[in-house]
């Protein structure tokens, strides 16, 4: 029982990150009717931006030192036992300036990237077939992955957690449960961002414009809504949340180009939830997270990789438009 709890909570922690990534895919789809197969690679770029601004730049000679190291912190750190919660908090505090700088800079850089993609690759194809749109994003996969290899080396490196990372240990029904503090914090961050953005899209004028544009582009245009601006905004939103998700993932699992492949499993999750339903996608993300953790526990790591794909095939066969997606009405 305690074990189930352990893996369930692990799963929820991954699920929250899936949801945050899925948010980007759904937002772009809702506004532009484009399913972005390259979203994983946008996230990978976000993670590498974070790596650059939080690790590489601060480590270079010409860049100002971004560690916060007053005397009291150094003393306290020296006194705190290694791997103790206190040490974890203190080392986070020490790194806070570069974490903050890295994250903000990564969000900005990812947003710029998204604007470029939207302006030069997506906008010229407005109104084209779905196949053309899918293929453009497939082409983007390759371009982004190549650009990444041009700029950064291929090796896996570590980046700092966004939040302090004390180990949390307690017992449930007599069996021990371990949680990484930073992962718990990341879950909270991911869910908070997800919730805030969904609320914002429901309530704000920008959200209304986005929905209008997705319903009917030309009508929205004639109503005075700047459709290109809506599109650009959706892409920026996706890239910015993607950068945060990328930073979280990179801190958790180490940074590597394989972050890009992550996007495919999230795409499976999005289809499972329903392309245009935030709620459905959130539920699917959490379910897949937990399912993966349980599979990991019972069947081992190999099976985890295909869990979302098996799940999406089953869901599509039973409910072709996902758990909560709306069916497109065919007309003759």
């Amino acid at each position: 029982m305690g074990q189930v709890f352990q893996f369930a909570i692990n799963g929820l922690m991954s699920g929250a990150i899936y949801a945050l990534i899925a948010l980007g895919i759904v937002a772009v789809y809702k506004a532009t009717r484009v399913v972005n197969f390259a979203h994983g690679y946008v996230i990978m770029m976000g993670a590498y931006f974070y790596y650059t601004f939080a690790v590489l730049l601060p480590a270079s000679d010409w860049f100002p030192d971004l560690t916060y190291a007053p005397d009291w912190l150094a003393t306290a750190k020296a006194e705190a036992p290694m791997f103790s919660p206190a040490a974890a908090y203190l080392s986070w505090l020490e790194n806070l300036p570069r974490i903050a700088f890295g994250l903000i800079a990564a969000i900005i850089a990812a947003s710029l990237l998204a604007r470029v993609i939207e302006r030069f690759f997506m906008r010229p194809l407005l109104g084209q077939s779905q196949f053309a749109m899918i293929m453009i994003t497939v082409g983007l996969i390759s371009v982004l992955s190549g650009v990444k290899s041009m700029i950064w080396t291929g090796d896996a490196a570590s980046v700092p957690y966004l939040a302090p990372n004390p180990a949390i240990r307690f017992e449930v029904f007599g069996s021990p449960v371990f949680i990484f503090g930073a992962n718990l914090a990341s879950m909270v961050i991911a869910i908070a961002i997800f919730g805030a953005i969904v609320l914002w899209l429901r309530r704000s004028a920008a959200g209304v414009a986005m929905r209008a544009a997705s319903e009917d582009q030309s009508t929205a245009y004639s109503m005075g809504i700047s459709v290109p601006q809506v599109f650009a905004r959706a892409w920026v939103l996706a890239a910015a949340t993607g950068a945060v998700a990328g930073a979280i993932l990179a801190a958790r699992d180490g940074i590597s180009p394989s972050l890009g492949l992550f996007g495919f499993s999230v795409l499976a999750i999005v289809l499972m939830g329903g392309l245009d339903s935030f709620v459905g996608v959130f539920i699917a993300a959490m379910c897949v997270g937990v399912l993966e953790a349980l599979v990991q526990w019972q069947l081992g790591g190999d099976w985890v990789e295909v869990t979302p794909y098996i799940a999406v095939l089953i869901v599509i066969l039973i409910r072709p438009h996902g758990l909560m997606g709306s069916e497109e009405v065919e007309r003759i």
Partner: protein, 406 residues
């Protein structure tokens, strides 16, 4: 190997024979102006770090050998290409080089288990060259099936043997295997299970992870629940293993971690220590070679250190040659010995059989300090290694065992 040339010739007729002559213009043997040794390295892709660190070692080795008069008076030259760690790319590199260099190409340095497996069936007739590689795959240490491929260390299975012997000697009762889901990650697992059973060590967890971007918390959780005395990590290069160890340490697990050759690089350990703290303290693993700073009584390592200071000034390799470079040095050293012996015997070096014969004949030689002992070629491998331990304070791996033979 099948001998089918007769039927083939019968069917294709003389036209094909003529074509073969056209395609291979150097039928008349002449002493080539230089010997080419080809190499595919993962200069990009998931293991780019390794490839980029091996590349300079090859050029150092080239200058070292040519400084000594090359092979029987003929210089060698490396042609290095990128494989991106994709076996088919490396195969294409090899075949492209074979077509353009013909009999000047005398040997090849491969970059992965996958490539060595893929190229294996192609190595026959005039398509065959002697090969060594970065891989310690168990399958390759078999002269029957892979007659033209050898390795300069123990196989991954042997490395597991060495580690498990060490664990048994230290009184370890339980062990976990965590491995990447790549071909080299899974290579020794079955053998390790069998060997552990023989030694009376219980394998409490076998966990497969992604080679990159693995879901660390869940893997650590499983490890924590199994809570073994020892954990052997296999199939990682730059990533995953440091994060796994870091996670386990934060949980206060007492498990001792061990690695095999590819997880024993000081540069990576140092980088992790600098970034995340001293949690690799006490990390152990098996290495067939000496670290480059362990230069006492090792003329070759001293020589490498000297030329590195000049040739690689200003790079991270100025004062330290990574284990992956040392592996390349040791492998190529063995290859060179074989090539030289074949050349002295007046044999054609582009005929893989001639070189393979000499490789097999390498017995009880002193290689100049790459290993702590004299070594012999047996079943296309060198079966020695020893256990090292990392210290986060000195940033050095130091030996904790004697030279063990698997």
């Amino acid at each position: 190997m099948k001998h089918t040339s007769l039927t083939r010739r019968g069917l294709l007729g003389s036209a094909a024979a003529g074509a073969a002559t056209l395609a291979m213009p150097t039928v008349l043997r002449a002493q080539p102006s230089e010997y080419i040794i080809g190499a595919s390295l993962p200069l990009t892709g998931p293991f780019a770090t390794a490839g980029q660190l091996i590349a300079p070692a090859l050029s150092l080795f080239e200058s070292m050998v040519n400084g000594e008069g090359g092979i029987d008076g003929t210089n060698i030259r490396f042609v290095v290409e990128d494989s991106g760690y994709v076996p088919a790319n490396a195969l294409a590199n090899y075949q492209r080089l074979l077509a353009s260099e013909g009999s000047n190409l005398v040997a090849y340095y491969g970059d992965s288990t996958g490539f060595m497996q893929l190229v294996g069936p192609e190595l026959k007739g005039d398509q065959a060259r002697m090969m060594t590689s970065t891989s310690f795959a168990t399958e390759l240490a078999n002269p029957e099936t892979h007659p033209y491929q050898f390795m300069s260390g123990p196989t991954y299975a042997d490395q597991f043997d060495i580690l498990l012997q060490d664990i048994a000697a230290k009184g370890g009762k339980t062990v976990a295997f965590i491995h990447s889901n790549t071909e080299f990650g899974t290579d020794p697992i079955a053998h390790g299970q069998a060997r552990a059973a023989e030694l009376g060590i219980e394998v409490v967890l076998i966990e497969s992870t992604k080679a990159q971007g693995a879901d660390i918390p869940t893997h650590v959780t499983k490890l924590a629940q199994a809570n073994p005395d020892y954990c052997i990590l296999q199939g990682y290069v730059t990533g995953v293993w440091p994060q796994l160890i870091g996670g386990a340490r934060q949980f206060g697990l007492q498990t001792k971690f061990m690695g095999t050759f590819w997880g024993m690089e000081k540069l990576i350990a140092d980088r992790v220590t600098a970034e995340a703290g001293p949690f690799l303290e006490g990390y152990q693993g098996v290495m067939p070679y000496r670290y480059s700073y362990d230069m006492e009584d090792a003329p070759r390592l001293q020589q490498i250190s000297e030329i590195s200071k000049v040739a690689l000034a200003g790079t991270p390799l100025e004062n330290y040659m990574p284990t992956w470079g040392i592996q390349a040095f040791a492998s190529l050293e063995l290859l060179t010995i074989a090539l030289r012996r074949a050349a002295e015997a007046g044999k054609d070096l582009s005929v893989a059989d001639n070189v393979a014969e000499q490789v097999a004949g390498i017995q009880d030689v002193d290689l100049g300090g790459y290993y702590g002992t004299n070594i012999s070629m047996e079943n296309n491998k060198v079966g020695v290694g020893r256990v090292y331990e990392y210290s986060a304070e000195t940033n050095l791996f130091t030996p904790t065992s004697d030279w063990l033979t698997a």
